[in-house]
């Protein structure tokens, strides 16, 4: 908004516009407990969809990324002031729980709801 008014604020380049598709976002990903080597003690479910976050966190950060003020400022410092200050990382923001049925070491069978198992949204931080 300000780049068209203030001459010292650079406007997003065409290159940045093209990189919108690579912006930090949630990617679905499914894995089996067999692939993780855990199928000898996890009874259900067979498949696990943890998802992951991937993408760039530079330029103008979209509002929906829920980045705190500090993250936005750090991104600006990296771009405008000092490149040694790290860029932001695309990481999970909200999570969903997951119910698992498993066998314990003593042979008991356990049903348990685990928090923080599935990434639901991403943020730049």
């Amino acid at each position: 908004q300000t780049c068209s008014i203030a001459s010292d604020v650079p406007c997003p380049s065409q290159e940045q516009d093209r990189s919108v598709n690579n912006q930090c976002s949630l990617h679905p990903y499914k894995v089996s407990f067999h692939q993780l080597g855990w199928d000898h003690w996890i009874i259900a479910p067979r498949l696990y969809t943890p998802n992951y976050c991937k993408g760039i966190c530079t330029g103008v950060l979209p509002y929906g990324l829920n980045s705190p003020n500090h993250a936005i400022i750090q991104s600006l410092v990296n771009e405008l002031v000092n490149r040694s200050v790290p860029q932001l990382s695309c990481v999970p923001y909200k999570f969903l729980p997951m119910s698992i049925l498993l066998i314990e070491a003593n042979g008991s069978i356990l049903y348990k709801e685990y928090e923080g198992m599935i990434a639901q949204s991403c943020t730049c931080r």
């Binding site: 908004q1 990903y29 894995v31 067999h34 692939q35 993780l36 080597g37 855990w38 000898h40 003690w41 009874i43 259900a44 479910p45 498949l47 696990y48 969809t49 992951y52 976050c53 991937k54 509002y63 829920n66 980045s67 705190p68 003020n69 936005i72 400022i73 990382s89 695309c90 990481v91 923001y93 909200k94 969903l96 729980p97 997951m98 119910s99 698992i100 049925l101 498993l102 066998i103 314990e104 070491a105 003593n106 042979g107 008991s108 069978i109 356990l110 049903y111 348990k112 709801e113 685990y114 928090e115 198992m117 599935i118």
Partner: protein, 241 residues
């Protein structure tokens, strides 16, 4: 940069990071026998009622607990009484209390009918602890909740028994029950070989847990902070006034 680890590498070396909450329940590489029979079927049905095929907890789940543990008896001893009665003593070891969870319900599920070749037995369980209040399901008052136990099995609520007599004890805790069976007909007394009977899974214990007040508050606080961040509009993102 986010790099997804190679899945083949993990399968070859299935060690678990100690910080993973899920890892605390993981048994060693030398796994005991995979559970079978009715206990496994019971827990699978409980899982299907409570979560969808992807593992997402169902919104309309009626389990009423965040964690349910099925414990099978660790030891049993058989005693043949006079006449048609047979008694099996069942010991259920109770693990030490987990700080983040509180026991809300305890039930024992047992076979009340045993059909052997030429013989039929009628069975029930009794807590070893005197003056222990128990309650059978479905209750005689006619609970609207459908029973999740098959016809050959019965469920008995022993929550009061465990909470009052056993749960707050220090040291090793064992719930002892008597599994008593009576021959239904025939004068000939059957000498049962209980060593083979234990494989029939005659009874198991179910412990239901929920978050303690402290851990529930901590989770609510964490979620509240997330919601506060959602509602808070960073000043750099506010629309120009």
């Amino acid at each position: 940069k986010v790099e997804w680890p190679s899945t083949t590498l993990l399968a070859e070396n299935p060690t678990l990071p100690s910080s993973l909450d899920l890892a605390k329940e993981a048994p060693g590489k030398e796994m005991k026998q995979w559970p079978q029979g009715y206990p496994l079927r019971y827990m699978l049905k409980l899982y299907q009622r409570s979560a969808d095929p992807h593992g997402h907890p169902r919104e309309n789940r009626t389990i009423g607990a965040k964690m349910v543990r099925l414990i099978k008896p660790s030891a049993s001893a058989m005693r043949l009484l006079r006449g048609p009665w047979h008694i099996q003593t069942l010991d259920f070891p109770l693990a030490s209390n987990e700080v983040a969870y509180q026991l809300i319900r305890a039930t024992v599920v047992y076979r009340h009918q045993l059909h052997l070749v030429h013989y039929h037995l009628s069975c029930h369980v009794e807590p070893w602890v005197p003056k222990c209040r128990t309650k059978h399901f479905p209750s005689k008052s006619g609970s609207a909740k459908p029973s999740s136990v098959s016809k050959a099995w019965r469920e008995m609520n022993i929550t009061h028994c465990i909470q009052q007599k056993l749960w707050n004890r220090k040291g090793r805790r064992v719930l002892r029950l008597r599994f008593m069976c009576q021959q239904q007909k025939g004068n000939e007394t059957l000498e049962l070989r209980w060593h083979g009977m234990t494989s029939l899974d005659v009874a198991f214990l179910l412990l239901y847990f929920n978050d303690t007040d402290e851990s529930a508050q901590a989770k609510l606080l964490a979620r509240g902070q997330e919601e506060l961040t959602d509602r808070e509009s960073p000043f750099l993102m506010r629309s120009v006034r």
